[in-house]
């Protein structure tokens, strides 16, 4: 079993790192879900996270906006340490957008209201301004004609694109994707990946995405990080990751999902 931890944070470059995790541990009851995760993500970097289910990858990105609390170690997001301080948590959450596997759109609100809820309630953006930028976002994700529909009237791919637009409406510095295409029918995966590729190519924001779409990872990722049993076992640029992984575990995993 590989136990060594990967790339340690370089203190000199800490200002450029928008996410810093040092020796992060997390337990669910007796289950040790994260066993000392240490990594950094630079501003504007696109990091793809892969790993078998139960490896802690989803738990890890959920600690970044504190949907899960870590119990040991430090997580510093955009210079703010994630602690019990409620004000820090709210500040960070509005800077970190998240897209979920199961979309989690608000079923009682129209597509438009889904997108404008947070800007108007959290940022106090005027309604007409919020409406205008929501419309721009819907055009960006390619479904402006669905603005007045309810989530239940949309296909899975369309719902996930609305969810991306909803997260983008807060102008986040970081976007977290938690297996955004796993719940989609094959023909809809592409439309969501296109939107994600466009985001990554714009280099406006930092992206951490859990996905098993290796084509996507190869094309847009700056780094691929692999989790196994609560630890990072590999952290390499895509070329090296696919062609020359250092760990046997990675080779086995790749052969299983390819």
């Amino acid at each position: 079993m590989a136990t060594e931890t990967a790339v340690a944070a370089d203190p000199a470059s800490e200002q450029d790192n928008i996410i810093v995790a040092r020796d992060v541990h997390k337990w669910f009851g007796n289950f040790h879900a994260l066993r000392g995760v240490t990594t950094t993500v630079g501003r504007g970097e696109v990091v793809v996270v892969i790993g078998p289910s139960g490896s802690g990858k989803s738990t890890f990105i959920r600690t970044i906006n504190r949907l899960e609390q870590h119990q040991r170690g430090d997580i510093i997001v955009d210079g703010v340490e994630m602690t019990e301080d409620v004000r820090n948590i709210d500040a960070i959450r509005s800077e970190v957008g998240m897209v979920f596997q199961s979309f989690n759109l608000f079923p009682h609100l129209t597509v438009m209201r889904n997108i404008t809820l947070a800007p108007t309630k959290v940022r106090k953006t005027p309604m007409d301004e919020a409406d205008a930028s929501a419309m721009q976002l819907l055009e960006r994700v390619g479904i402006p004609e669905q603005a007045e529909k309810y989530p239940g009237e949309l296909s899975g791919g369309q719902q996930q694109r609305v969810a991306i637009a909803r997260a983008l409406a807060m102008n986040p510095k970081i976007m977290l994707f938690d297996e955004p295409t796993s719940a989609l029918d094959p023909e809809m995966i592409k439309e969501v990946l296109e939107v994600m590729k466009e985001l990554a190519a714009s280099h406006q924001m930092t992206i951490v995405a859990i996905t098993h779409e290796l084509g996507f990872a190869r094309e847009v990722a700056d780094r691929i990080v692999m989790f196994d049993e609560g630890q990072i076992v590999e952290d390499l640029p895509p070329d090296e990751f696919f062609n020359n992984p250092r760990h046997e575990r990675v080779r086995r995993f790749l052969s299983q999902i390819l």
């Binding site: 989690n104 009682h108 947070a118 959290v122 301004e129 997260a167």
Partner: protein, 396 residues
């Protein structure tokens, strides 16, 4: 030649629409026949055995006391008016009970889900105890408990203003009209209307400009300021519209004078109904909030909305659709259960009706009060269904 009964080219005994219509007509005839048979049987039996029936007694004097009444009542009043007095008592119990049980139930239901272990367990124990003991037993228990209290001056006294004891019952401060109170109330209603307009205007401003305009604060401010100005005008002219009357024990038995006093029977009935019904409402609220998937809260929190904003804009609107229908049925239950007042001697509709049967035809009396209960229940259902349709519609 073969007989061919066909409709649209299909033999009629195989045509689905004709079959369903035939079944409807046949069952309709059977129901009407059964009801007609039952009614004629009852009426002939009543004639044979000389059971009185009819509505002529309604104009007679009831000449029996009603121990407690919201409307003014004297023994010389008619049966018809006595029905009105008793129905008003029941309506009061129902409305007060529904309002307080809803408030208590929502608090207990929300608290059950809170992270505070101690409070949530206390709430769970409360719900389990009061949901699982018969209401009649609880009512008699509260009644016995209140009967066991000492008389006024030795009874429970809070802030020298609230008295709870076995002879007077529950006395509490109550505003007493002094100078044209009705006109002042009208001013308050106007202030409330103005407050609603203010709230809408401020909400619109907030949406347009994005500047926080505190619509609720503005609306409440307008209502309070309006009522207060009117009050000052009243004082300037002569006297305040209302004066708070505080009960005060008087005389040898210390029966409180001033304030408002309700009997221990009514106190026990209200306490019992509210605590019992709130336990069910708490479960409905808890279930409703839990029916909203965890991901909804996570999505909302990840967008930066706070706990209260998440509850208000995301969780509660979705829970409401699940909560409202069973909540209405709890309101109906509370109203119908108020008839158990008979057991502890509060003059509600049922116990007055039971007393009436000693001097008037019982069948008629009970048909009348069944009609009144039905009217109350249908009114609650109507209001609830309209509200439910409203939230379903805005919810899409």
């Amino acid at each position: 030649m073969r007989l061919s009964l066909t409709y649209q080219g299909i033999p009629i005994w195989r045509h689905s629409r004709i079959l369903s219509w035939t079944a409807q007509i046949v069952s309709g005839i059977l129901v009407v026949a059964a009801v007609a048979f039952f009614l004629s049987n009852v009426s002939s039996a009543m004639v044979q055995r000389d059971i009185p029936f009819g509505f002529s007694f309604l104009n007679r004097e009831y000449s029996t006391p009603i121990s407690e009444h919201l409307l003014p009542y004297e023994e010389s009043d008619t049966f018809a008016y006595a029905f009105l007095v008793a129905a008003t008592n029941t309506l009061m119990v129902s409305v007060v009970g529904v309002i307080l049980a809803t408030m208590l139930g929502i608090i207990v239901g929300a608290v059950q889900l809170s992270g505070n272990w101690v409070i949530s367990k206390v709430a769970t124990v409360y719900v389990e105890v009061f949901r699982n003991v018969p209401l009649l037993v609880q009512l008699i228990f509260w009644y016995i408990l209140l009967l066991g209290l000492p008389p006024v001056r030795e009874g429970i006294i809070l802030f020298n203003a609230i008295y709870l004891n076995n002879n007077a019952g529950l006395s509490f401060p109550w505003p007493e009209g002094q100078q044209r109170p009705g006109l002042w109330l009208l001013c308050v209603v106007l202030a409330i209307a103005l407050g609603i307009v203010t709230k809408m205007l401020l909400e619109r401003r907030e949406e347009r400009t994005g500047r926080p305009s505190c619509p609720w604060l503005g609306a409440i401010g307008v209502v309070i300021a309006g009522s207060f100005v009117a009050w000052l005008v009243w004082v300037a002219i002569g006297d305040a519209p209302y004066v708070m009357s505080v009960p005060e024990p008087a005389g040898r038995f210390g029966h409180p004078v001033g304030g408002y006093t309700i009997s221990i029977e009514l106190t026990a009935l209200l306490v019992g109904l509210i605590i019992y019904t709130a336990a069910f409402i708490a479960e409905i609220v808890r279930g409703g909030l839990q029916s909203v998937s965890r991901g909804q809260g996570e999505a909302s929190r990840s967008l930066g909305l706070g706990t209260m904003q998440t509850l208000r804009f995301v969780t509660f609107p979705q829970a409401l659709r699940v909560i409202v229908p069973p909540m209405i049925s709890q309101y109906l239950n509370l109203t119908k259960n108020s008839s158990l007042a008979l057991a502890i001697g509060y003059a509600d509709l049922t116990s007055v009706a039971k007393t009436m049967t000693q001097t008037a035809p019982a069948v008629t009396i009970f048909l009348i009060i069944m009609g009144i209960y039905l009217l109350y229940s249908l009114t609650y259902s109507l209001i609830g269904n309209l509200y439910n349709r409203h939230i379903q519609f805005t919810g899409g």
